[in-house]
């Protein structure tokens, strides 16, 4: 029995990766349409898609579009919205904000919670956009200094709790990344509140929250970039960097590992406990595989949704030599199709196409 929820998540990951990289170059209308049709057309063909989905964000969109929506319809709606999000995140966020503001029966907190659900289900592209939308909902209430102070403390404690929860409950690195994902827009939300204040305390909290955001961004970016470079066993090296000043001093080493676990946002509890066991054994055995095991599509899709602009630029993705719509469409398919088309064309791939082919090969090949 296939699980529609699992299939839907996998399709969203695939779509995000392809859209994320394609959006590096602005898409023309026709290309965008073909792109959507191509991805939507790759949905598996079985009865589950016609059933109404139980997605929390659907009840909202069900009212907006038509109710009830089948999972297939839901995915189509999602594709249109996310396509817009990658091309013009401001317009996409305005559309969503407008819709949220129309929901008169919801309180501001409920609207923020709904926004969190949209983020968790990948309806919004870019954590800064989502965080600003969250702040916009608060700002529309025109809060005074006392209310801002109260909200800043509440959101700070909430961030700490969410972080602790992610650290303690994650049993795999994929769960760790997923656990951190909801935190990033709320980092921006908190920073925007702190910017409205001028006390030493708000500056201190801003500093702390800024570090949280930078640590998570570095984690997502490092994981994504290493995967796209074809690295597979990089996580442990990244996780331990800068934590071990003297590897022969076991006590200092353990303190450094503890600092990486609770002082910085590097790895969750299961990872910390495994690495401690490894240090205590001191038998030069290979690191347990779980310390480097990451679902590559999941990790890359999270990084792209979180910060779509930074990654391709960071990767120095070539911009030239890739401009016909047909070429763009080709990158949607897997590496074997690309190879076939490349050999038919009888010429070398332009640099960007070659780069995308490598990515597609690594993630879907």
């Amino acid at each position: 029995m296939r699980d529609v929820g699992v299939e839907l998540r996998a399709l969203k990951q695939r779509a995000i990766i392809i859209m994320g990289f394609e959006a590096y170059k602005p898409l023309k209308g026709l290309v965008k349409k073909k792109l959507i049709e191509r991805i939507a057309g790759s949905m598996p063909d079985y009865e589950g898609w016609e059933e109404a989905t139980s997605s929390p964000s659907l009840s909202y969109f069900g009212e907006l579009v038509r109710s009830p929506l089948s999972t297939r319809d839901y995915f189509q709606q999602w594709m249109h919205h996310v396509t817009l999000g990658f091309i013009d995140s401001e317009q996409a966020s305005m559309k969503l904000l407008y819709a949220l503001e129309q929901a008169k029966d919801l309180t501001t907190v409920e609207k923020q919670e709904l926004l969190d659900t949209f983020w968790a289900e990948r309806w919004i592209i870019d954590y800064r956009v989502c965080g600003s939308m969250r702040f916009h909902l608060l700002a529309s209430l025109r809060p005074g200094p006392e209310e801002l102070e109260q909200e800043s403390r509440r959101v700070f404690r909430q961030l700490e709790n969410d972080l602790r929860q992610a650290r303690e409950s994650s049993q795999t690195l994929d769960e760790w990344l997923e656990g951190l994902f909801p935190i990033t827009p709320r980092v921006i939300y908190a920073l925007q509140i702190f910017r409205q204040q001028d006390s030493d305390n708000s500056k201190a909290m801003k500093r702390m929250v800024d570090e949280m955001g930078a640590d998570i961004g570095t984690l997502f970016g490092t994981v994504c970039v290493n995967i796209l470079k074809g690295e597979r066993e990089f996580f442990s090296e990244y996780a331990l960097s800068g934590l071990v000043e003297d590897p022969t001093d076991v006590r200092a080493l353990k303190r450094g590992l503890s600092y990486g676990y609770r002082g910085r946002i590097r790895y969750p509890r299961f990872w910390y406990e495994e690495i401690l066991k490894f240090v205590e054994r001191a038998d030069l055995a290979e690191l347990p595989a779980a310390l480097n095991a990451i679902d590559v599509r999941h990790a890359v899709s999270i990084a792209l949704v979180n910060a779509p602009v930074v990654l391709p630029a960071f990767l120095k993705m070539p911009k030239e030599g890739y401009d016909s719509p047909e070429d763009l469409i080709l990158t949607l398919d897997d590496a074997s199709i690309l190879d076939e088309q490349g050999s038919k064309a009888g010429h070398e791939d332009p640099p960007r196409k070659s780069f995308l082919r490598q990515i597609v090969s690594r993630l879907f090949g």
């Binding site: 700490e160 030493d200 305390n201 500056k203 201190a204 909290m205 801003k206 500093r207 702390m208 800024d210 570090e211 949280m212 930078a214 800068g242 934590l243 000043e245 006590r251 200092a252 303190r255 450094g256 503890s258 600092y259 609770r262 002082g263």
Partner: protein, 180 residues
């Protein structure tokens, strides 16, 4: 010699108790650098912070004072703990980073020596203090206040500094009590 070794271990254990209580909030610290740089403070920074925190608590729980510690804490209340080895300044240019690290090196060396003297003083206090039950919390709130103020001067917000000062004090005292 055996005696010195065990005293060293006890001092280090107490420092570790403070270290583990402070590590979750070390992101508050700016190491005297302001907010224009990413902080990325290394474990050595937290260790220096934990040694000072321990030195503030030890006289409280042993009942023996130290003018060296009192002077040090007073001075550090004005000048926060600086970065240690492994520091990085990621938002500056490479050249600026190198210059910055260079200009800090003398200051860090002096701080390292200060911390080493502090460790020796903590060991001395542990060696000379009467072996009595460590005093109860709240019996000497001045030191808790001193620790809170030290954390605030290193970047902590008031209320969280207060909570952390209490937790660190509890933790160090409990560790000392278990070692009795």
């Amino acid at each position: 010699m055996e005696s010195n070794h065990s005293e060293y271990d006890l001092a280090e254990e107490l420092m570790e108790a403070a270290y583990y209580e402070l590590e979750e909030h070390v992101g508050f610290a700016d190491a005297g650098e302001g907010d224009e740089v990413r902080h990325l403070l290394p474990p050595g920074f937290l260790e220096a912070l934990a040694w000072v925190a321990t030195s503030i608590i030890i006289p409280m729980v042993t009942g023996v004072g130290s003018s060296l510690i009192a002077d040090f804490v007073k001075e550090k209340g004005k000048n926060p703990i600086r970065r240690g080895p492994g520091s990085r300044f990621t938002t500056r240019s490479k050249r600026d980073e190198m210059n910055r690290v260079e200009s800090l090196s003398e200051e860090l060396l002096a701080q390292k020596e200060e911390i080493a003297r502090l460790k020796d003083e903590i060991r001395r206090l542990l060696r000379d203090a009467p072996r009595e039950e460590p005093s109860e919390m709240g019996s000497n709130p001045k030191q808790v206040d001193a620790l809170r103020d030290f954390l605030v001067s290193n970047g902590w917000p008031d209320d969280i500094a207060e909570e952390d000062a209490m937790r660190v004090t509890h933790s160090v005292r409990d560790r000392l009590r278990r070692k009795g």
